[in-house]
């Protein structure tokens, strides 16, 4: 709605333009269907009779609508624990990584100080880690030596300083918050820290939203870090729990004991759980991201300013 009117004034001037418009729309509809259909298919399958799914009867509409897949998913203790773990990790991880990004980006910006002694050194110190790292095992050994194995902070601390995001936020400070604001606050007697909390942070809400979105998505979907650093079963986040169900196709013990309809019924539930758990795992982010679409799109533009 708030788009500039200029683009809308491009009214069709001839048949060739109208034809090409139609071709474009058809092309885009096909692409959209290709992308959306697999998700739609899983959604339908999650509430259908799995035998009909595997017989190819649910291409467009569900058959014999049933919620038993979802019931089984939420009756499965490991999935519920994984879900709660994922929520916890996503909240803590998002707060922690956003905090780290801001704490590292602000002092290194032109906004905070015209010439902070050592700024260049600190910037390079961070940026080097984008191109070179210790690799899987040396990092693992240090995490182990610092006592973080099976401690949830292993998910947040070792990868806590996201340098790429730090650069985006620093560019935002440099380009969008003039140094004069900070100088005015300091003349009024505010300390650097007060200025940061009371003036800079409220002014950087747009870029903070971008950082929060990136971090939320990353923590909700992460499982590799947890697989390496958190071997305890009760600590696994949702995607890692789903590995047993989706990749190894194993029916869990509690499933087998709670289902009363015999082997055929167990088979049915095992298949339904696969579809339902995909939906349950993907739904939060798929519902959430359209609301913040403009923020992450803007984030890319902010990053594109400096290349």
């Amino acid at each position: 709605m708030n788009k500039p009117a200029a683009k809308d004034s491009r009214v069709p001037t001839g048949l060739s333009d109208r034809t090409s418009d139609i071709i474009l729309v058809i092309f885009c509809v096909i692409i959209v269907l290709l992308v959306a259909y697999p998700l739609y298919y899983v959604l339908i399958a999650s509430i259908s009779n799995p035998y009909d799914v595997y017989a190819g009867k649910t291409f467009l509409l569900p058959s014999e609508i049933t919620w038993s897949g979802y019931k089984a998913v939420f009756a499965e203790q490991s999935i519920v624990t994984g879900y709660l773990n994922s929520i916890k990790y996503t909240i803590i991880g998002t707060i922690f990584s956003t905090l780290m990004v801001f704490l590292s980006a602000y002092p290194l910006s032109q906004t905070a100080s015209k010439d902070l002694p050592g700024r260049k050194f600190f910037s390079i110190f961070f940026i080097i880690t984008m191109y070179f790292g210790g690799g899987l095992i040396p990092t693992y050994l240090i995490v182990r030596q610092t006592g973080l194995i099976n401690n949830m902070w292993a998910l947040f601390i070792p990868g806590g300083v996201a340098v790429g995001n730090m650069i985006i936020v620093r560019n935002f400070f440099d380009n969008s918050i003039p140094r004069e604001i900070v100088e005015a606050a300091e003349i009024d007697g505010a300390s650097k820290w007060r200025t940061f909390i009371n003036i800079i942070v409220p002014l950087s809400r747009p870029i903070m939203a971008v950082m929060v979105v990136f971090a939320m998505v990353a923590y909700w979907n992460d499982w590799f870090t947890a697989m390496i650093y958190l071997p305890g079963v009760d600590k696994a986040p949702l995607p890692l729990v789903l590995r047993g169900i989706l990749i190894r196709s194993s029916a869990t013990a509690s499933q087998a004991s709670t289902i009363s309809g015999g082997f055929a019924e167990l088979n049915k539930i095992t298949e339904l759980i696969k579809f339902a758990s995909i939906i349950v795992a993907a739904a939060p982010m798929l519902i959430f991201y359209p609301f913040v679409q403009k923020y992450f799109e803007r984030g890319f533009m902010a990053g594109a300013v400096k290349g």
């Binding site: 500039p4 200029a6 809308d8 491009r10 001037t13 060739s16 090409s20 474009l24 729309v25 885009c28 290709l34 992308v35 959306a36 697999p38 998700l39 298919y41 595997y54 590292s104 002092p107 905070a112 100080s113 010439d115 002694p117 600190f122 110190f125 880690t129 191109y131 070179f132 690799g135 899987l136 095992i137 040396p138 050994l141 610092t146 601390i157 070792p158 990868g159 300083v161 650097k192 820290w193 909700w220 979907n221 995607p239 890692l240 789903l242 590995r243 989706l246 990749i247 196709s249 696969k274 995909i278 795992a281 993907a282 991201y289 359209p290 679409q293 992450f296 533009m301 594109a304 290349g307």
Partner: protein, 314 residues
């Protein structure tokens, strides 16, 4: 800088030092803010870099990363003579090369098309839907792939009316990996190009239209030239990681039967290091991979800077 050149003698240097100390003191709160990020980076990024030396040692837990016996290039030799060495190199390079070949142009084409959509609300909807798969965990995507490719009643087999077990076909692995990668990330990849295309002045289109340029000609002569710097930048970034096949998806889609094409270095590093606890050997393999990557990055950067000079003058 200018004010400092005026001083030359010792007392002036003292003033300079005092001035520096004063500036550091005035900014102490900024340094305090940096403290935790710096400490984390030092401990979890720099110490592991120093710890890479276990690639040249025979690591034992009791003697530690910096005290285990020095063995030189033994681990590297063992890797170079490993039975699957060439297969892993080949699979790693081919998998990322084909991913780049197929995956790189698609977001560009999509962005060019979507940018020309005239109904803005439709355009937004298309973009929103195309982003969706990016927000799904790789674990879940691989679960979907396994379901769709199931030999008994998987979607692909239902459509093609067959019962092929694609995940046990080595010849199908790359196609599965690349096609699903495009499904998941091509939509997300358009963002950066859309951001660039948004900078184009609408009056350019108007002028071209008055001159009788068709839609295709407008894309060819206005949009594409505008995109070229971004395209080159993105190409450099992807080409530099030609030896960097991600671990997660390959590992989740690997089966004993498709190893002939799915056996890649990153999975090997994980298996040797975490599963078999061969810390030194795994580190050596990882280091080899990193070094090749850095060399590639430098070569590609050189080529690209030469190329972009030519493009600019063309």
């Amino acid at each position: 800088m200018g004010q400092n050149t005026a001083f030359a003698n010792g007392s002036a240097r003292k003033t300079k030092v005092a001035y520096l100390l004063q500036r550091i003191g005035a900014n102490w709160q900024l340094y305090a803010m940096l403290l935790i990020p710096l400490a984390i980076t030092f401990i979890y990024k720099y110490i592991p870099m120093y710890g890479i030396q276990i690639a040249f040692r025979d690591y034992t837990a009791s003697r530690g990363m910096f005290g285990s016996t020095w063995v030189g290039f033994d681990w590297f030799e063992r890797f170079f003579t490993a039975p699957n060495f060439w297969r892993m190199i080949r699979n790693t390079v081919l998998l990322s090369f084909y991913s780049l070949l197929w995956g790189f142009p698609i977001p560009i084409i999509l962005a060019l098309m979507i940018n020309q959509l005239r109904f803005k609300r439709f355009q937004r909807t298309v973009q929103t839907i195309l982003y969706a798969p990016h927000f799904i965990s790789i674990m879940v995507v691989c679960g979907m792939i396994r379901i769709f490719l199931s030999p008994s009643g998987g979607l692909i087999n239902l459509i093609s009316n067959s019962n092929t077990d694609y995940l046990s076909l080595a010849s199908a692995f790359r196609t599965i990996y690349i096609a699903s990668g495009i499904w998941q990330d091509a939509g997300w990849g358009i963002i950066v190009y859309m951001a660039t295309l948004a900078n184009i002045d609408v009056s350019q289109y108007e002028a071209a239209k008055i001159d009788g340029a068709s839609l295709f000609q407008r894309i060819l002569h206005i949009d594409i030239p505008e995109l070229i710097p971004t395209i080159i930048l993105m190409l450099i970034m992807s080409a530099g990681s030609l030896m960097n096949v991600g671990f997660e998806k390959v590992w989740l889609l690997q089966t004993n039967l498709n190893k002939a094409t799915s056996d890649v270095i990153s999975v090997y590093v994980y298996q040797q290091g975490i599963e078999n606890a061969k810390y030194s050997y795994s580190t050596a393999v990882g280091l080899f991979n990193t070094v090749v990557n850095i060399i590639l990055l430098i070569i590609v950067n050189r080529l690209a800077s030469r190329m972009s000079d030519k493009v600019r003058f063309a």
